[in-house]
Amino acid sequence: MAIINQATKELQVKIVYYGPAMGGKTTNLVQVHDHVQTTAGNKGKLVSLATSSDRTLFFDFLPIEAMTIKGFKTKFQLYTVPGQVIYNTTRQLVLRGVDGIVFVADSQYEKMPENVESFQNLVDNLNTLKLNIAEIPYVLQYNKRDLPNAAPTEYLDYLLNNREVQVPSFPGSAHKCEGVFESLNMITRMLLQKYINQAAPQPA
């Protein structure tokens, strides 16, 4: 749940990168950290709580401030969850207070069952926190498009984006920084639209 501090004109938003193990969630954060254009001091340290083999153990965390939003100091906190099935309790903890989600799917054919399982796990974990996927802004990133065994994006859409309301989806190759900023900018846009709509006076 975003924090709005009217006194200091600060808006704090939490975005969680979710998806199957080894799908590229941490790579997304690393690429944002390495390539984002910021004014001095607007990008925090990338904190990774990972195993010795660089598998996310608890979460990765990157605090960052958007450049082009005026009026409010808009602070974004980007988190990843550990993708491995056994870390479900940890994923539930990281999801607390979430405002928006980037679901990073692995485009390889053989990863489809894991993609579907991870998305269902996201829905279940949100339900545990009394949240509904239909009410949380999220985007899909179909990562690893550069691999030869990548399934067509239409197939990924059929598996993961086949709900009443389709959400934006982006092809990506996170390790080349392709699709990374597109996904982040879109989820930011959706979140800000949601807050601005909530702030607008309701008709009587």
Binding site: Q6, P63, T68, Y79, G97, R189
Partner: protein, 160 residues
């Protein structure tokens, strides 16, 4: 969806006042109010020496992980964690269902005094936050100053 909590000038002043009083009572170095999402809501004391944003995110994660472990071993009264260091120590105590108070203090300062005054401070902080949350939801969100122009590029990639 729950109403977004908004802090107005009055809330921030009250929280600051409580935290400053707490620091004076305990000689602690810094005090932070954070929420479960890891957001830093308010802080007082030393903010140059420490990366408070990151400390807030990690303290929230550590507290919730330990809280979950406590639940797994049927501990019903878990409400704080204490990290003892050589130079600085940290104490995290639950404020309400959503927030925590994080205290960073020199290790030569006894944890007893921190725990004693923290128990009182969290009650005050809880009252201030409850007042902020209960403020008329009909007032809506004042985001009139938010100018979300240039929607395609909130974050720009550095030129290669």
């Amino acid at each position: 969806m729950p109403t977004l909590p908004q802090l107005i000038e009055e809330d921030v002043q009250r929280l600051d006042g409580t935290l400053r009083e707490f620091l004076a009572q305990t000689d602690a170095t810094a005090a932070l109010v954070i929420d479960q999402g890891g957001f830093l809501i308010a802080h007082a004391g030393e903010d140059r020496q420490f990366d408070l944003t990151t400390i807030g995110a990690l303290a929230s994660g550590a507290f919730m992980a330990t809280q979950t472990i406590a639940g797994l071993v049927n501990e019903k009264n878990f409400n704080s964690i204490y990290q003892q260091g050589e130079k600085f120590s940290m104490f995290v105590i639950n404020v309400d269902d959503h927030c925590m108070l994080v205290v960073i203090f020199l290790s030569k300062v006894g944890v007893g005094v921190v725990k004693f005054y923290a128990a009182m401070a969290v009650k005050q902080v809880a009252r201030h936050l409850a007042a902020a949350k209960e403020r008329s939801p009909g007032a809506g969100l004042d985001l009139s100053a938010l100018n979300a122009a240039d929607p395609q590029e909130y974050f720009r990639k550095k030129a290669a």
